[in-house]
Symmetry: D2
Subunit: 336 residues, 4 copies
């Protein structure tokens, strides 16, 4: 093996830049190529990272001989194809979620990945947040006893554009999916869901045949129950809170305070919130890449892997189906 | 009118004692009678309050000429009958909830109360907690904007006895009802519910054909959505948290810390929780009585009144029905 | 002994009304007399409490045959004389602090009280706040290990009037004294102090030859050190925070949040502060009276007693002396 | 100017490694040399950073032609000499504090730096913590009104070794200095101090003629007062809290919670503390370097600079002198 793991970053948008800066801080990694169909973006990525090459052809970047691993931050509808190419080129992959919005397509790609045996990690970054990671440890150590209830709330600060919405897969696949993944991560597989959605924030969600506000019940295979609240807008900042309660103890994960500062005046104290996911999950974005490259170096399979992507997608599809058909839906009903 | 409002306390159990001590602190009130079928209990109540008489016949207490108002803290299945007697005797009533567990019976008593025009307040004490009262003010003042999401969690510390369970009306009528009342109080009437329940805490709940763990979706008439989580057991103390989120702001009501003390050691800080409702809602129990007697003195109808009891019961019945029939239930389906 | 302890309340101002309402909630107590030189005040107190008599002569109230105990809430400069009268009349006394602002006068009265053996409790209410009481328990149980540092902050919301200031004894005797008493209560006797003061809030403090802002170092007899910050004004409400740190653990007592409500909007969360001592220490005012009457009923000496009043006064005088003479002062230098 | 700023890291201990990793994440910076007298350390630093050279001669590293800036993380007693060398070689310097423990020596080096006009920043990292940075903004914007009181507490988790103590300059220069720097940063210059110290934690502090526990009063030039509490040991983790109170508002900076996780069980909630400064001030260490290199790129003088180092040292020396001489000391008394 080379001295350092050679990496190609595919896609230099806002998220790509975040990943690129985090890659720069990893001593075992060398960014070899930054690829983006937009020449200017690729060049800017190269400049920031000190990469050797800027390419506009992302497929060439995958094939590049000095590239051991690719980090996929391109638009959602390209993930499946790029993963497939990487699998055939035997390159390790860290990819933003999802593999695809379609279960059959996802299953097809997962199968290829598994047959080719390449290490693949999907970008469910919350799992690496120090709060969620510690919650997971405590749950796995049995500190909570038998899990009884899961409870999640997520509010995005700014509603996305109509254009984004149309390709997003909707509120359950694009947004609730983070809480559904946490539900699987922290509690286990879900057997049945019941989701309700509505449009309260902006009429564009009606145009996109989507909801902007949703509530979902979960029934886990181990008997626990759960609720998930999801909203596409928050006038008070990025609002994420997750609770897992068991027979013995409960954990709450919430980073309410952005900075360690409290301002007192006029008979009140005030603290600041995070504005959005890049500041709330800053550490998580760094830690998920660290974890991916550690797995590569130690020749372990990274996690969360393709099977997680598949099961979390299935759960999101079940929720969306429940909403559309206005009935409880078993996850086993959702098949490729 | 007399100098002071003459009061009969009916039922001297634990809750009765709480109310009796709070009555003693009200300068406009004189406890005239303490009535309890158990002679000893009645006498103890008399001693504590300095009441003139201890009676074992609660009906006589209602009829007592020096009694202007009765405070009903007797077992649930006696509430309707005692309210009816008080209505016919034209006595004002503060009664623990519910009027009855049956909608028809409740409607019958509410009708009598309304025809007789007596002032009646039901013991939904949470409305008087300084947190919830302030939340209500802010919502009514429009500070939250259009309400979008309601979110409630309640865990009782200790599961009740099987004997209690059998007469309790079940988890939705006996326990979730507090959050359902808050939902109505803070957001408005509910149109439809979907509830799931299960037994995770203790097999006695199965014997009682009841659930000990439940999750409920709410759809409000004004379009807002909501979730309620309910559990009959908490190994970490009485656990109550309520959120109401609107287009502009959100309020969270939670009294996590029992005393203003933080203990730091071994790389952690620790604070104490409330053990149960009497300590968490100590102020609310006092304030609901103050509010009741203020209404009497100012010749206003006290609130929450019989109609609230009826609508909150309807909502609880809808949730129980949804759970038993495993389908969404409209509150309009629940009729006497 | 009588059925109930007969009580005379002396002085019906704001604090007197607070005590009177708390007395009404005590089942073992009967308010017999309310005395205030202002006829109207005495009558209003009588009406609120249902006392038998309203007197304008407080000395007669002490002598009243149905009075077993007196609660002194009159102006500071009358405390010593009334305590003396009560001692000679063998009545138990709960008195607002201080006994007197002068050490010799205080020592004289303490001696009379001790010779007469009457039960006397002074109104250092913070000791009864659930936070401080629990801190004391933990310290006494050895949970903190050897105490190393004490740290107190007190800010009053509103500066007092010049008239009040002139008779108050100054910032150290009137205000810092609460933290000095907590220092003695929680850590032990103080050997030496160094205080600095200044005028930053209002020029009237200069006129009164007083400070409105002060900082004090403490050296305890057991070797621990401490700091106290004191200010006569707070634009953000009543601000009290106390820490005691030991070799093993530390306790922090601070009731930052007035109601269990958090309001989130515009990228911040906000909670309300207490406005002033009557709302922050509401429970403590009730509990100190409960404790006093429990001691009487159980024939124990109540606490904090006259010796505490003397030692805390000595400490306050040492701080004031240190400030005026701009040098460290040993408490042993302060003698009657 | 070169493409990137060429950097030499001098000293690869624990702190050196932290800085080196942060340098790797800065896109405008290239680590050219890692120098440490211990060959192995220098080589490890080279490997981590991808530097071109590992040197055991730190003076050669300063002189290296590809080096534009040096980051000094060597032992304290070498700082002055290395700063002097860098000044003569016209290299920019980021140096860990202090320049020296002696005021005359510090003044001499500051003079050389100022004459040579090189950009120098000292490692008072707390100024870059998002909490303190925001506090400073608010104070400078006048949001607090006239500053009245400063209040700081710092406890280190683990007492240092006797060997370290002997060269540390003592508790005031080595530890309280961080709070004294914050006092200057947030409130302004200090005119007079009064410090008390003692040994409560470990007898080795007596051997070193040092204190392990100290309290200090501050009088600022603008009239404000302050207190600082300092301890060399904390059984509950790294404990840092700072308050600045003004006529209008107050700010509190404290990062009590290490991760966004609360664990509830047995009637309590518990959260984790930071263990030590590297985890509490992780962001600050990164941000101070970012700020230094931004200043270089924009040809501004970085801050805090040599004059700040001098004035903060003077303040620390005044506190130490006050403790040793047991009297108030004016900072103007402390002269080279």
């Amino acid at each position: 093996m080379r001295d350092k793991i050679g990496v190609a970053l595919l896609g230099f948008g806002r998220m790509g830049e975040t990943h690129l800066r985090n890659l720069s801080g990893l001593s075992q990694v060398k960014v070899v190529v930054v690829a983006d169909p937009r020449r200017e973006a690729a060049e800017r990525g190269k400049a920031i990272s000190g990469a050797e090459e800027a390419l506009t052809d992302v497929e060439k970047a995958i094939a590049h001989p000095a590239v051991d691993a690719v980090v996929i931050v391109t638009p959602t509808d390209t993930h499946a194809h790029l993963l497939e190419l990487a699998a055939h080129a035997s390159k390790a992959v860290f990819s933003e979620k999802p593999i695809a919005l379609d279960l059959a397509e996802t299953a097809r790609v997962v199968k290829i990945i598994q047959e080719r045996g390449i290490p693949v990690q999907l970008g469910f970054m919350r799992r690496f947040d120090p709060g969620y990671a510690r919650a997971k440890q405590k749950i796995d150590a049995g500190e909570l006893g038998r899990i009884e209830l899961f409870r999640a709330l997520s509010r995005d600060t700014y509603p996305p554009s109509l254009e984004f919405l149309l390709g997003s897969g909707g509120i359950f696949l694009d947004m609730a999916v983070h809480d559904l993944d946490l539900a699987r991560f922290l509690v286990g597989e879900v057997e049945e869901v019941q989701a309700w959605g509505t449009v309260l924030v902006d009429e564009k969600f009606s145009k996109a045949k989507d909801a902007d506000t949703a509530v979902t019940l979960l029934r886990f295979r181990n008997g626990a129950l759960g609720v998930v609240e999801t909203s596409r807008h928050s006038n008070w900042g990025y609002d994420i809170r997750t609770e897992v309660a068991g027979a013995v103890a409960k954990v709450v994960v919430e980073a309410a305070q952005k900075t360690p500062l409290l301002l007192a005046r006029d008979f009140t104290s005030t603290f600041d919130h995070f504005e959005n996911f890049p500041d709330r999950f800053q550490a998580a974005y760094r830690l998920e890449l660290e974890s991916f490259f550690s797995a590569l170096l130690e020749a372990r399979q990274p996690s969360p892997g393709p099977q997680d992507a598949l099961e979390t997608l299935r759960l999101g599809l079940a929720a969306a189906k429940s909403w559309r058909e206005n009935r409880p839906v078993k996850t086993s009903e959702v098949q490729p």
